[in-house]
């Protein structure tokens, strides 16, 4: 019996609490500030007010804290400069509270990450571009935006448009068959950023050399050295010439210049001359004195 009485009391108390909450909600609604749910960054805001006399307005948002005495019954202006940072703002006026969101404006700038800065030519999915879109106040634009990635190399342009998600868009592109400095551009709206991706030749595909007698010994010289896609291997790449004869082994680490490498090897009547660059080995010449 006591248990039933306890339950009845509990239900009665809950009903009273609910009634009070409804009354509070009705009272609050009656004094609610008329503020839009979202405002574009940098566009300013007008808040209508009712009543008379002075009141204190508080606005708190990302990087913003405003305290101002306002005249009730007049419109309250929040300037564009006061609402630049995107995020949630809370307004308090005369004991009434409300909140709204400042959202980013149109895309004005892009932070563009292009990786890597050097890639081997003729390689699929090797260039990555990631674009972060911002408005003029450096707010990340979270609304989906189209971003166009363009990679121009050797007069040919590869283009791809991606839509941002949470302010970020990315694309993976192939490097072109021909080596050179590729222009990688990300653009959205009026914003555009350019990066340079150096597309470089890969390892030599093959090395072929010839040898001739010269005044100081033997002059060994390669044909133009290319990678397997036909790109010239960059100047400065080391090419090692080796001559082995009865006097020992002679090596010259020559550099490719203007597409070829050459080295002077000591004179010999019977030598084996070989050439290599990195792990790629070229042809071998059996040098006889009469050559």
């Amino acid at each position: 019996m006591k248990e039933i009485e306890g339950k009845v009391k509990f239900v009665g108390m809950m009903a009273i609490v609910l009634l009070l909450m409804c009354c509070f909600a009705i009272a609050t609604h009656a004094a609610e500030l008329n503020i839009p749910a979202t405002v574009t960054a940098g566009s300013g805001l007008t808040i209508p007010s009712s009543g008379s006399g002075n009141a204190t307005l508080y606005v708190v948002g990302p990087g913003t804290a405003i305290k101002r005495t306002v005249q009730l019954g007049q419109e309250i202006q929040l300037s564009a400069a006061e609402l630049q940072n995107a995020g949630r703002y809370v307004v308090s006026l005369d004991g009434n509270n409300a909140s709204f969101f400042v959202v980013a404006g149109p895309v004005q700038s892009i932070a563009f990450l292009a990786r890597p800065s050097r890639v081997p030519a003729d390689t699929p999915n090797v260039i990555t571009g990631t674009a972060f879109v911002f408005d003029k106040y450096q707010n990340l634009v979270l609304q989906p935006q189209p971003v166009t990635f363009e990679l121009t190399a050797d007069g040919q342009t590869v283009s791809r448009t991606e839509t941002t998600k949470n302010g970020v868009a990315f694309a993976k592109l192939d490097s072109s068959r021909k080596e050179g400095a590729a222009q990688f551009v990300a653009s959205s709206g009026s914003a555009s950023v350019r990066r340079v991706v150096q597309e470089v030749a890969s390892d030599p595909c093959s090395i072929r050399m010839t040898a001739v007698r010269d005044k100081n010994g033997i002059l060994a010289r390669t044909d133009p050295i290319h990678d397997c896609a036909g790109n010239p291997v960059p100047d400065g790449t080391i090419v090692t010439f080796t001559s082995t004869d009865a006097q020992g082994k002679s090596t010259v680490d020559a550099r490719i210049k203007q597409g070829i490498a050459q080295a002077e090897l000591p004179a010999s009547n019977d030598a084996t001359i070989s050439v290599a660059s990195g792990v790629v080995v070229g042809n071998e010449i059996q040098w006889r004195g009469a050559q």
């Binding site: 950023v193 030749a201 100081n216 400065g236 090596t251 010259v252």
Partner: protein, 364 residues
């Protein structure tokens, strides 16, 4: 008495002035073969090349300047930055009028002690022993024009005003292509090779950490100068990292840390390594000898030779290095020799020599 005191003072003054003026004769004649060699090098130690030249028997065959250049170095070579610290002599054989004396010389240089061994012929002229100094013909490069197409890499790096998304040029891609931990008495030596796989030059360095059986760090070292730090595209450099007093038996694993930085660099000069062969020197030690040939038109002041030794399986089993104390003039061969561990000599199946160059003034 009044006159005696001034006279005494005057006489004393004259005596003191005479004592100060007349120096003892330091060029005392050598009465033994090794005495002549010692006396010569004592003067060299004091940088008194004129005095040293007085002990040269064949002074008519060479001039004092060439003699001084042979001992003091020339063309900004390592020898010009060195000082003779010690000269030990030993008579190899002697007769009444000539002898062969071995001089073991130790120079102090900026890169550590430098040793030179010379077998000098000593002859008796009258009652004096003098050194028959070997005439070294100073290399002369004939006047000529050597055409060079200088190749250089310059780097534009990210500026402080660039936005945070602006990419910087990346460091070159390098890879350790071989590594071998070998014991040397109570020491552990890490040898191997590193390759610049990229198309741009890099300043590379290799560090190693020895981890013990309990996971504790036994030591951390770097290759220091036992590596070619500046690697051009596709260039391979040996490296050697010494861990003194860390026995290999206590090592569980080795952590290697190759690092590379993109640097401006020049592709020149090209140095040929000619007539490489392994021989035994006068003391019976194995050495790798050869000649360095500067194929460019600028002088290389201080050459540094790095030799990599491979076994029959192509594995790196040792790396040795040595500085050459002569400058490399264009188109002029200069001999070099680097040591090879005698206990490894029989295992060496192949070897490769690379050269670092240090230049006081770039010819650009």
């Amino acid at each position: 008495m009044k006159r005696i005191l001034p006279i005494v003072i005057i006489v004393l003054t004259v005596v003191l002035i005479a004592m100060a003026t007349i120096q003892p004769n330091s060029l005392s004649p050598a009465t033994s073969p090794d005495g002549a060699v010692r006396a010569l090098f004592d003067h060299v130690k004091a940088r008194d090349y004129k005095g040293a030249f007085a002990y040269v028997a064949n002074s008519g065959d060479m001039d004092e300047q060439a003699f001084a250049g042979d001992l003091a170095g020339r063309d900004g070579s390592l020898r010009t930055y060195s000082a003779l610290q010690q000269a030990d002599t030993r008579v190899l054989h002697a007769t009444d009028d000539q002898a062969l004396v071995r001089a073991t010389l130790e120079y102090a240089t900026a890169v550590g002690a430098f040793y030179d061994t010379r077998d000098l012929k000593v002859v008796k002229q009258g009652d004096r022993w003098k050194v028959d100094w070997p005439v070294v013909k100073e290399p002369k490069v004939p006047p000529q024009v050597i055409q060079e197409n200088y190749l250089r890499w310059d780097v534009i790096t990210r500026g402080s005003n660039d936005d945070w998304g602006a990419q910087d040029v990346e460091a070159p891609r390098v890879r350790i292509i071989s590594m071998n931990a070998i014991p040397q008495g109570p020491n552990t030596i890490i040898v191997g090779e590193i390759e610049n796989e990229d198309t741009v030059p890099g300043f590379v360095s290799v560090g190693a950490t020895l981890v013990g059986k309990n996971g504790d760090v036994l030591g951390e070292e770097t290759s220091f100068d036992k590596i070619s730090h500046t690697l051009l595209p596709k260039e391979i450099s040996p490296f050697r990292i010494d861990f003194p007093k860390v026995p290999l038996s206590t090592v569980k694993s080795v952590r290697m840390t190759p690092t590379s930085v993109l640097v401006p660099a020049s592709a020149d000069p090209v140095i040929g390594v000619l007539h490489q062969r392994v021989e035994t020197d006068a003391r019976g030690r194995h050495v790798l000898k050869g000649e360095l040939m500067n194929e460019s038109g600028v002088t290389v002041n201080i050459p540094h030779v790095l030799a990599t030794y491979y076994d029959a399986a192509g594995k790196v089993i040792w790396v040795s290095d040595g500085y050459v104390d002569n400058a490399l003039l264009p188109e002029t061969p200069v001999p070099f020799a680097v040591d090879l561990r005698d206990d490894l000599a029989s295992k060496v199946h192949n070897y490769r020599v690379t050269v670092n160059e240090y230049m006081l003034q770039q010819g650009e």
